[in-house]
């Protein structure tokens, strides 16, 4: 499937003279009866030609809607919308751009999370990064940008549509991933190793980009969408530079809302808090009843606070003392893990500004609690 560049250019020269008229979508007066008289030829290219990008109103509108810099040409924009599963030629698909963009995006997301919440445990950090730049989120982002998918990729398709070969209805996702046995094994190993650590599998970490020209198998919509968003970031980086890419990631990805307090699920919060207090040399945490009502009734409420010395670390209200204590411990642990130096904390990439202030070291935590 891998074409040599020479053959492609030769074909494209041929194509531009003969078939450019057919593809002229600006004044389409395609009489259905007329078009039906021609026997249908399978489109000679798997994806639209770069010239077609200049005539697509959809693509131009998308470019403007995202507020992309003028330096990013429409041709590159069209290329970000071509998935490797639609066009295996790496010169015309978004594989390279999406790899680059994915790295830039995960860099900014990681530094944002690490600087804003320096004490996050590894599992939560991964989950938060996944929440910001995971495939599901990127799919939602791309859909909120108004990007639709083409039904079938081809050269006659509007370049403003996301093109990838879709999975036929009825196939299960696992079968259709089209992964080689070796790769599947590697993924399984990675998954299991992550789960041992208490993390679920996250694509942003550890997924290796497929080799170009090999991935023509259908793929899930989520993958295609996330590749597209990453490729846009990569395209902005290449054409408009580092600052523009950082601005784009901040505006479109980091500006989204995530309630990070909802990511935690503890197993033994009381013991973990005790270990924490011991490690940090605080007094042993003691659960104290702040207030209570209806102790012997059907629906009592206990408000329990966890105290280390004279200072309250957390509090929780529950219908039983044990549950209230757990809630208070969870609150205290979350308060520990979610320490933040401030909302407008500086990140290392801020130093790339021309007249940036000297760097002040951010807080670095010694690590999560192990017991």
């Amino acid at each position: 499937m891998h074409q040599s560049p020479a053959s492609r250019t030769q074909q494209s020269r041929f194509q531009s003279s003969s078939a450019a008229l057919e593809e002229d979508f600006v004044f389409e007066d395609d009489d259905p009866s007329q078009s039906a008289t021609l026997p249908p030829t399978p489109s000679s290219y798997p994806s639209p030609l770069p010239e077609a990008a200049l005539h697509s109103a959809k693509l131009a509108a998308l470019h403007a809607r995202l507020g992309l810099p003028k330096k990013l040409p429409l041709q590159t924009m069209a290329r970000t919308l071509v998935d490797p599963s639609a066009d295996p030629n790496t010169r015309f698909n978004n594989a390279s751009l999406s790899q680059l963009g994915g790295s830039i995006m995960s860099l900014h997301v990681a530094e944002f999370l690490l600087c804003k919440y320096p004490r996050l445990p590894m599992a939560i950090l991964f989950a938060a990064a996944g929440a910001y730049s995971g495939a599901r989120t990127l799919t939602i982002i791309a859909q909120e940008w108004g990007v639709d998918t083409a039904a079938y990729p081809g050269s006659e398709v509007d370049p403003g549509l996301l093109q990838f070969s879709k999975i036929a209805p009825g196939t299960t996702i696992e079968d259709s991933m089209g992964l080689s046995l070796r790769r599947r094994k590697r993924l399984a190993f990675y998954k299991s190793s992550l789960e041992k650590k208490g993390t679920s599998h996250n694509e942003a970490f550890g997924d290796v980009l497929p080799k170009p020209g090999k991935e023509v198998d259908p793929k899930p919509t989520e993958d295609a969408y996330s590749n597209f968003v990453k490729a846009v970031v990569g395209g902005v980086y290449i054409h408009a530079g580092r600052d523009a890419a950082r601005k784009f990631v901040r505006e479109h990805i980091l500006s989204r809302h995530l309630d990070i307090t909802q990511l935690f699920e503890f197993k033994e919060p009381v013991r973990e808090l005790a270990v924490l207090c011991k490690r940090e040399e605080f007094e042993y945490p003691v659960a104290r009843i702040l207030s209570e009502t209806g102790r012997r009734s059907r629906s009592p409420v206990f408000v329990v606070g966890i105290y280390s010395g004279t200072e309250k670390l957390g509090e929780g209200a529950a219908p039983s003392l044990a549950e209230a204590r757990i809630r208070a411990s969870v609150a205290a642990l979350k308060a520990w893990y979610l320490y933040s130096p401030g909302n407008n904390v500086r990140v290392p990439s801020d130093m790339e500004d021309t007249n940036a202030k000297p760097w002040e070291p951010v807080h670095i935590d010694i690590g999560e609690i192990i017991h």
Binding site: K58, E144, K197, F264
Partner: protein, 153 residues
């Protein structure tokens, strides 16, 4: 490691950071023959008071280019729809559509309708009773009967 993570996705706050206009496409349909498309094609013919050039002005001829320049993020599609009244259809990011029939309207009125479609969110119209709706936690937290009262002692 006693803490487990739950999988979540971030939620869009359109306008915080980037703003994505919800109307992504406007299609303008007209009929070359019928008189109700006159405002779409030509302005109506007032008896006096306007120069000839102005009389024959139209929305699609004159106003559309300015409107499209002012709203580059909207894909504008102009196509005839013979034997039908002129109509503007707005396509929105949620996948919904809104159509407004502009038969017998002047070009200024048509522009108003186009702007209305541009500014719409695509959602069904509904009564807004709360002045503020937010996904952010309130500054004072969720009221609880077991807290805060102790200060009076």
């Amino acid at each position: 490691m006693t803490v487990r993570a739950l999988q979540k996705v971030t939620v869009s706050q359109n306008g915080v950071g980037a703003f994505i206009l919800q109307c992504h496409k406007l299609s303008f349909h007209y009929c070359d023959w019928a008189g109700s498309s006159r405002g779409m094609k030509y302005a109506s013919f007032p008896l006096c008071g306007q120069s000839i050039a102005k009389r024959f002005s139209s929305f699609l001829r004159n106003t559309l280019s300015k409107f499209a320049v002012a709203n580059p993020q909207i894909e504008m599609e102009v196509s005839p729809r013979p034997r039908r009244h002129p109509v503007i259809i707005g396509h929105y990011i949620g996948g919904r559509q809104k159509a407004i029939c502009v038969r017998n309207l002047q070009k200024e009125q048509i522009l108003q309708k186009a702007e209305l479609l541009r500014d719409a969110s695509g959602e069904k119209l509904k009564r807004v009773t709360k002045p503020v709706k937010s996904i952010n936690e309130s500054v004072r937290g969720v009221w609880s009967p077991y807290h805060g009262g102790g200060i009076t002692v």
